[in-house]
């Protein structure tokens, strides 16, 4: 069967069971958009290519399947670079297809030419420039394989226009042949035994759980391990929901804005059982002073993570889905009553938890409206498996702190890259992936302004997401740093509460817009938002400008120097 390269591409995507593509057409990708009309694959027309990328990420986050985006060459390809970098940092599987100028024009500075494979080399797991239509099925197969296996990540296929038009003889490769790519899945049995021994002897162990547990779909395995041994768990920003917040063993989020107990548990720990986490500087604080008494077991599918920041005592390369059960098995063999052994540790943690809970004070008058109050009310009024998507800034930290995540893949955020503007398009993608679930974007006013136009996409495509803007009229996180570390010299952080008018803007994009100024209005507004399921809703919550995120480990300090709240800040 003879197909054009474009037809072969679409057919290959169908073979990979792609159900949706987020994209926006243009010159170099035009040939591919024609056979797309005859395909069963749904296409969602975004308003900016960055949105296509983040939507594909949101989709991948909640489904565990690769997100697919397709855009044209040059400016469209550069527009999607941010999303690629974001997905690369957070190990999100994406397959991005970019159009390219014709092969004979490559290198001539042709119209809308960009060196896409060159530009994206450092933000993709791998990329391919297709030079002949006959390569297409092989490249697509390889691309999906690379994106989804081992440590997942984004890949990119650059497809020149003449290759799309070229005829090829259709085939579908039986298997993938990448001699240089063989992820190690099974952990080394000796190392796993070593790890089990350390665990059986530890008195203050902590399970340091990262996003890798979600990527590996190993949350059940983790729960079994933790509950069998009674070991407390911290879930990093990328791992919220990997272990239920309501489980008594869950200590919540560690790191710069982690809660006291989670942060301090690691500082006092004698054994960190690190599962799919990578000792990010936002978790460790000053590395030299991080978890000074702890031995480290580090399990990761990416060998390069082991020893990158902290040298593990027991390194294990492997897939958590396989390694965690093996580890549990080895621990059981040792027949040590770990739970009994950990009683004093658990008791100590409980006293910290009681002494240093996360707090905020909503003034009974209703004003100023506290952002944490909004999040708590949103949570109380939402189904327990609601998907929460956030932007980057104070609102993100509050969302992570004050939501209760009890289901895997219900927290979608930009952790590693910290990409403002992530929330709206990622929420859209998440809702496409899980139309059965309620999707709330908790966004900042600054972030919202970066990618809000994707609400037009959401309305047009009937994707009823809900957006809560925690509108503090500022680039709040930056304002907080200027307040705390730059002598309250506020430089270029003021945005204004009502420019733009978020309600009008929402309405102009076909959404329902609601404005909330005081705590008394919160309930009614959320009830209204919850009742709307045929279009997106935006609530403009006018929140307290001066609220700061606490606890906080100031940059460069060790985690022992955690600042618990504003009172303590004033003392310093």
């Amino acid at each position: 069967m003879q197909l054009t390269g474009a037809q072969a591409l679409i057919k290959s995507l169908e073979m990979e069971q792609v159900e949706v593509i987020f994209g926006l057409p243009g010159g170099a990708i035009l040939p591919v958009y024609d056979p797309l009309l005859d395909s069963t694959i749904r296409h969602i027309l975004v308003r900016h290519e960055q949105g296509a990328g983040h939507a594909a990420e949101g989709y991948a986050h909640v489904t565990g399947r690769p997100g697919v985006a397709m855009v044209t060459s040059g400016p469209a390809a550069t527009n999607i670079v941010t999303a690629l970098a974001d997905a690369y940092m957070d190990s999100i599987p994406l397959v991005v297809i970019t159009g390219q100028v014709g092969t004979t024009l490559i290198g001539t500075d042709a119209f809308q030419e960009a060196d896409t494979t060159g530009i994206t080399m450092s933000v993709t797991k791998h990329n391919w420039l297709v030079t002949d239509a006959s390569q297409i099925p092989t490249v697509v197969r390889e691309a999906f394989h690379v994106a989804t296996t081992g440590r997942p990540g984004p890949v990119l296929i650059d497809l020149p226009k003449d290759v799309s038009n070229q005829l090829m003889e259709w085939y579908w490769p039986e298997s993938v042949d990448l001699p240089g790519y063989k992820p190690t899945l099974k952990g080394h049995p000796k190392m796993i035994q070593e790890a089990a021994k350390l665990i059986s002897k530890a008195l203050r162990p902590v399970l340091y759980v990262g996003g890798g547990v979600l990527r590996a779909d190993a949350t059940k395995e983790l729960l079994t391990l933790a509950e069998h041994c009674g070991i407390p768990v911290v879930t990093t920003l990328m791992a919220r929901g990997a272990f239920p917040d309501d489980n008594p063993l869950c200590l919540g989020m560690p790191g710069m804005h982690g809660n006291y107990t989670a942060v301090t548990s690691m500082q006092k720990s004698d054994l960190l059982i690190t599962l799919g986490a990578r000792f990010d500087d936002r978790v460790t604080g000053n590395v030299a002073g991080f978890a000074p008494y702890a031995k480290v077991i580090h399990v990761d599918i990416d060998p390069a993570e082991l020893g990158k920041i902290r040298n593990p005592d027991v390194p294990i390369v492997g897939d958590l889905k396989l390694v965690i059960p093996e580890l549990t098995k080895e621990i059981k063999k040792l027949k040590v009553d770990i739970k009994a052994q950990l009683e004093p540790w658990i008791a100590e943690l409980a006293t910290w938890r009681e002494k240093f809970p996360l707090t905020y004070q909503q003034d009974p008058s209703g004003r100023p409206l506290k952002p944490q109050y909004v999040i708590e009310r949103l949570r109380q009024m939402a189904p327990p498996d609601t998907i929460v998507v956030s932007g980057v800034g104070q609102h993100q930290m509050w969302a992570s702190q004050f939501w209760k995540f009890n289901h895997p893949n219900t927290w979608v955020n930009s952790g590693g890259l910290g990409t403002m503007g992530f929330a709206v398009p990622a929420a859209l993608g998440a809702k496409v992936g899980r139309p059965d679930k309620v999707v709330w974007a908790i966004d900042g006013d600054g972030c919202f302004q970066m990618t809000a136009q994707e609400l037009v996409t959401a309305t047009a495509e009937r994707i009823p997401i809900k957006v809560a803007i925690l509108n503090n009229a500022y680039l709040g996180m930056v304002r907080q740093w200027q307040e705390m570390f730059y002598d309250q010299r506020y430089s270029e952080v003021y945005l204004s509460p009502d420019l733009p008018d978020y309600v009008k803007w929402a309405e102009a994009m076909g959404c329902v817009g609601i404005r909330v100024d005081s705590a008394d209005e919160v309930q009614v507004a959320i009830e209204k938002a919850n009742s709307i399921n045929d279009r997106p809703v935006v609530i403009d919550f006018r929140t307290d400008t001066w609220e700061k995120v606490f606890p906080m480990v100031p940059a460069g300090k060790t985690n022992d120097e955690i600042v618990i709240g504003p009172q303590e800040m004033e003392k310093k």
Partner: protein, 192 residues
């Protein structure tokens, strides 16, 4: 790889740096852009390449890249692990200088006077080099040898007016095993 060539620091004098350097022999798929991926990975992660040479192997599906890395820029282990993540990288061997044959090539053009001409020819002969080009008042000499030999040769040449010197950066292969294969190995002892 559509590219075959090498990079060496200008005026490179590797003699003093030997301890800080490690030699990696990297077998890669012979595909376009592979060299760019390697170079890009080094710069992106802040590793320094001291010298690099690349050419197709006996099997033209593969190329061998010999990279001399400045290990003060990052632990070698991290460099090899990151390199391994490149999809086109098949195999990385760290080559220990004492267990390797290492070779490098030097080409140098030197201005000559009537006296120095014969001295230079003599020097080239002592080092087992070659005169590969002769001009009216210049000679181009060639020497292949260990990087250390080339350093010595370069140092001795330095007293003459050097027009240009170009070194290739080293290529290396693991030394061959000299012990005869042991025949009667007990079958029961399982190798792990």
């Amino acid at each position: 790889m559509t590219f075959s060539g090498s990079v060496v620091p200008m005026g490179g004098n590797g003699a003093n740096g030997a301890a800080k350097h490690h030699v990696l022999s990297v077998l890669v798929e012979n595909k376009s852009g592979v060299l760019a991926r390697i170079a890009q990975l080094f710069s992106r992660r802040g590793y320094n390449i001291y010298s690099l040479s690349v050419a197709p192997t006996e099997d033209d599906r593969f190329s061998r890249v010999t990279i001399v890395v400045d290990v003060e820029s990052a632990p070698l282990e991290q460099i090899t692990k990151q390199l391994h993540k490149l999809i086109n990288v098949l195999k990385i061997s760290e080559i220990n200088a004492s267990q390797a044959v290492e070779y490098e090539l030097l080409l140098g053009s030197i201005s000559t006077s009537s006296e120095s001409r014969s001295e230079i020819i003599e020097l080239v002969r002592i080092f087992d080099g070659k005169i590969v080009d002769v001009g009216f008042d210049k000679l181009t000499v060639m020497l292949a040898g260990s990087p250390k030999t080339l350093d010595d040769f370069e140092a001795l040449l330095a007293v003459y007016p050097i027009v240009e010197i170009q070194r290739t950066g080293r290529v290396a292969l693991q030394k061959l095993d000299r012990s005869a294969p042991t025949r009667a190995r007990s079958k029961s002892g399982k190798a792990s």
